[in-house]
């Protein structure tokens, strides 16, 4: 079995734009905003960057295809730049490309950056995209909430949870994230919201109301990576290293056979197992200090707790109600506010999550700062629960 990249890659600079309805700027400015912060954080000159991986998902409303929009926006002269796209896992894919290049010794210093400009569609939510000429002929175009709302039906049926109890638990998921997001100046939505408001919000896709859905926003996030040795030669101390990056993509089994009951996301389970193995984690609930998960919808976060193995199967709704994942709980989840408060500029989200861990591990998270964090997990879910992609990255203090 492969040895993986644990502690072979250090993050020496990160940046994150303000997320939100950025009517004032386009993707180029968002990229520049995140990159400028990351470059300053790294203390490097731009010319030290030897290769870049650029994540953007929706080419029609963003910057178009290829690497050129990034190399042009940041004026990256003469270095290899690759554009990656893997739906909502796009940001983590960019990090994966840069980290693998460094771990392989192909380059010394690499850039991972992701951006999405969702507010140029003219309406709320994600735009419908073609699924290819064959799928377009038969696959129904449900909205993103419709895809994830089906987890609720599967979960209720499997664990015999009443509609009322599950609605309350998923509302509690959103309530907690809003509490956290209110303390983050880079978040899009910065207001605490009452349980009552969340529970009574207009329905989007049963049982998901408006407050069960994450925001839709513009944003960019960026990481500069190198080897621990080079990082030390640059004078960096208390290194933050990558412990694992794993990915899992559906092969059609959940959507095409009767082997999935609708109550969990197999890709998360597969990617999490591989990531824990790579990072040497045996007991995730005890060993992880914080988790940033793909709370595109509240029900997604709830089942993700079980898929990541931090709640027992059928118990997540109770753990949520018991405050296990609150800021002062046993395992804080979405300490930065999550997708719920940041929104989900697709290409940026995975890197935005790592950015929060990076700040927490360096003790730079301000009023959100957790006590003595060691390891942070980020989780992205692209597509729908029964047909999608999951990316998981784990970062932590070197030697941890």
């Amino acid at each position: 079995m492969a040895r993986g990249i644990k502690d072979k890659v250090a993050i020496i600079g990160m940046g994150c734009s303000k997320f939100g309805e950025r009517w004032d700027c386009g993707s180029e400015q968002l990229l520049t905003e995140a990159f400028t912060e990351a470059l300053a954080d790294s203390g490097l000159e731009k010319k030290r960057i030897e290769a870049a991986w650029f994540g953007s998902c929706l080419d029609r409303i963003n910057v178009g295809n290829s690497a050129i929009p990034l190399s042009t926006a940041l004026r990256l002269e003469g270095i290899p730049v690759s554009r990656v796209e893997n739906m909502c896992a796009t940001g983590t894919e960019a990090l994966r490309g840069a980290a693998y290049a460094v771990a392989a010794g192909a380059v010394d210093i690499a850039l991972a950056i992701g951006v999405e400009k969702l507010k140029d569609t003219g309406y709320g939510g994600l735009p419908a995209a073609t699924k290819g000429t064959l799928n377009d002929l038969w696959m129904p175009y449900g909205s993103a909430p419709a895809g994830f709302a089906q987890l609720a039906a599967g979960y209720r049926a499997k664990y015999n949870v009443s509609k009322e109890d599950l609605k309350k638990a998923i509302a509690r998921v959103s309530w907690k994230s809003h509490q956290n997001g209110a303390k983050n100046e880079k978040a899009h939505l910065r207001k605490a919201v009452s349980m009552e408001t969340i529970m009574n919000a207009p329905m989007i896709a049963e049982p998901l109301g408006v407050f069960d859905c994450c925001g839709v926003s513009d944003g960019a996030a960026c990481a500069i990576v190198t080897t621990p040795e080079i990082a030390r030669s640059l004078g960096k101390k208390d290194l933050i290293t990558i412990k694992a990056i794993q990915l899992s993509a559906s092969a059609g089994r959940e959507q095409g056979t009767n082997q999935w009951d609708g109550s969990y996301v197999q890709n998360t389970r597969t990617a999490a197992r591989a990531a824990y193995r790579e990072a040497g984690i045996k007991h995730p609930r005890e060993e992880l200090s914080a988790i940033e998960v793909h709370d595109c919808f509240s029900i997604t976060e709830l089942v993700t707790m079980e898929d990541l193995g931090v709640s027992d199967d059928g118990r997540a709704w109770k753990d949520v109600m018991d405050g296990v994942f609150d800021a002062d709980g046993e395992l804080p989840c979405q300490i930065d506010g999550g997708l719920k408060c940041f929104g989900h500029p697709i290409g940026a989200s995975g890197l935005r999550m790592v950015y929060e861990h990076y700040l927490q591990l360096q003790g730079r998270a301000g009023q959100r700062q957790l006590k003595d964090p060691q390891l942070g997990l980020s989780h992205n879910l692209g597509g729908v629960p029964y047909n999608g992609v999951c990316a998981i990255s784990i970062v932590g203090l070197e030697g941890r």
């Binding site: 569609t121 064959l134 449900g142 419709a146 089906q150 896709a205 059609g252 095409g256 999935w260």
Partner: protein, 478 residues
């Protein structure tokens, strides 16, 4: 060897529009229309048309029957969606009929339904002939026709044999330029002349003459006619003609006007099916269709159909969702263009190359069954979804397989012409699982485990090129 009807099937859209609701909507300008506000009429969902209804009627007719013996398929309609693209080929492919059969579109007049049946009964085909008549009649808002016109489809399997449901006795026809209504090429709506003239100068003179000619030639006295139906013309025309022919009122078939409306080319077929569902052995059935003259057929009932899973006309009438929203009716029929928002702007261009490559999957709903692990699946990809075996699958039709809801949701965000957009994973008993749209949900809703039937529908409208995509959707079994 006798020729006649071997099987039949019907389809009516489940939605029934209240005529009182139509009258109420027009009361501000046309209070006199209140007199037409009685009963209800069938209303197609936005995703139903002549092809989808024809396929449903055809499936009902062919339920459990061998399809390889079918040598011809005729689709009769005045409102088929394509002007140059044989509608029968699309419907026939969805019905998985033999590609070597003769496919013909009949049209040009509401008489086409009965004309197609007569041709099938007269024709020299050796195999079985499937004749489907379907119409989705479009009427201008506030016209009388808006109250009268309905939608539906009837299917008849014609063939030779000794064990026929009904034996074809003969047919007759008169063709004259009597124009009770017309629709010029490219126009949306019919133009109709005064009912009194149609009734007195048209129906009353032309129909009895045609029927009498046939009965005389067949040597059958009108007193032997046990089931008489007349399609076309104003409501009540059947009674007028029956009186003139001395056919007793109790032998007039219910005219379907109160529940369905006038379904154009499908009406004579539905009347004949109505007769087949109630006749006793030996009963004489006479069905006439009035349009630029008259066409009439006579059958003698053989052995009435035994118990089966056939929906038929009676089952179609019973499958009902009440509708009272006039604005919804206008929207479904394309008479008003609501602002569906920017989500509705997506281009729905179909790659005709891909459509042809995957036509059996898309139109026929034929998935695959892996020869190695036996997993039934859709779509049929090169590698098996379960065991990964490559090129190991044989075609496996899914349209008639039992299925139920595995997961579902009602989506209020996604653009749909009939919100909410119900979508979910459909679990077939044979193992296949498919993400599908669920339609005609009704007030009962759907939940995990709700049993589902499959139906061909329009999946998306292409508003630029007008090549609508067809695919199968799931309907809760009520």
């Amino acid at each position: 060897m006798q020729i006649g009807i071997k099987s039949f099937g019907a389809y009516l859209p489940a939605r029934r529009m209240s005529r009182a609701a139509i009258a109420d909507a027009h009361a501000w300008a046309f209070p006199s229309l209140k007199s037409l506000g009685k009963g209800e009429k069938t209303l197609c969902g936005w995703d139903e048309d002549v092809i989808t209804m024809a396929v449903e009627a055809g499936r009902d007719c062919l339920r459990g029957m061998e399809r390889s013996t079918i040598s011809a398929f005729d689709l009769a309609s005045t409102t088929a969606p394509f002007a140059d693209l044989q509608n029968a080929v699309l419907a026939g492919y969805a019905l998985r009929l033999p590609a070597g059969a003769k496919y013909t579109d009949f049209g040009g007049s509401t008489r086409a339904g009965l004309s197609a049946l007569v041709r099938a009964c007269d024709g020299g085909d050796r195999g079985d002939r499937l004749v489907v008549a379907a119409d989705k009649r479009n009427a201008k808002p506030a016209s009388i026709q808006e109250f009268l016109y309905g939608a539906g489809a009837g299917a008849l399997l014609v063939g030779e044999g000794s064990n026929l449901l009904a034996v074809f006795l003969g047919s007759d026809g008169i063709s004259v330029p009597f124009i009770d209504h017309f629709r010029s090429a490219g126009e949306k709506f019919d133009y109709s002349w005064e009912e009194r003239w149609v009734r007195d100068e048209g129906i009353a003179k032309i129909v009895p003459k045609t029927v009498t000619a046939l009965l005389t030639r067949l040597g059958i006295g009108s007193e032997r006619v046990r089931h008489f139906g007349l399609a076309g013309g104003p409501v009540g025309s059947d009674k007028l003609v029956a009186k003139g022919l001395s056919i007793a009122p109790e032998h007039i078939l219910p005219d379907l006007q109160g529940q369905v409306g006038d379904t154009g080319a499908a009406q004579p077929t539905l009347l004949l099916i109505e007769a087949l569902e109630r006749a006793s052995a030996g009963d004489v059935i006479v069905i006439a269709s009035f349009s630029q003259g008259c066409e009439v057929v006579a059958f003698e009932m053989g052995e009435p159909p035994g118990a089966s899973s056939r929906r038929g006309l009676a089952g179609s009438l019973a499958n009902r969702i009440a509708e009272t929203s006039y604005l919804k009716m206008l929207s479904f029929e394309g008479h008003i263009d609501l602002d569906w928002g920017m989500r509705a702007e997506n281009d729905q261009k179909t790659a005709l190359t891909q459509f042809y490559r995957s036509a059996d999957q898309i139109l026929g709903f034929v998935g695959g069954r892996c020869g190695k692990c036996e997993a039934v699946q859709f779509p049929r990809m090169p590698a098996c979804v379960n065991c990964g075996a490559v090129d190991a699958q044989s075609p496996y039709p899914l349209a008639d397989e039992p299925a139920k809801v595995a997961t579902s949701t009602a989506d209020w965000l996604q653009y749909s012409l009939s919100p909410p957009f119900y979508v979910g994973l459909v679990q077939f008993d044979v193992g296949a699982r498919i993400l599908m749209e669920i339609v005609d949900v009704g007030p009962g809703g759907v939940d995990v485990g709700t049993p589902l039937a499959m139906c061909l529908r329009i999946k998306e409208r292409d508003r630029l090129r007008h090549f609508d995509r067809y695919f199968w959707k799931a309907v809760p079994i009520r």
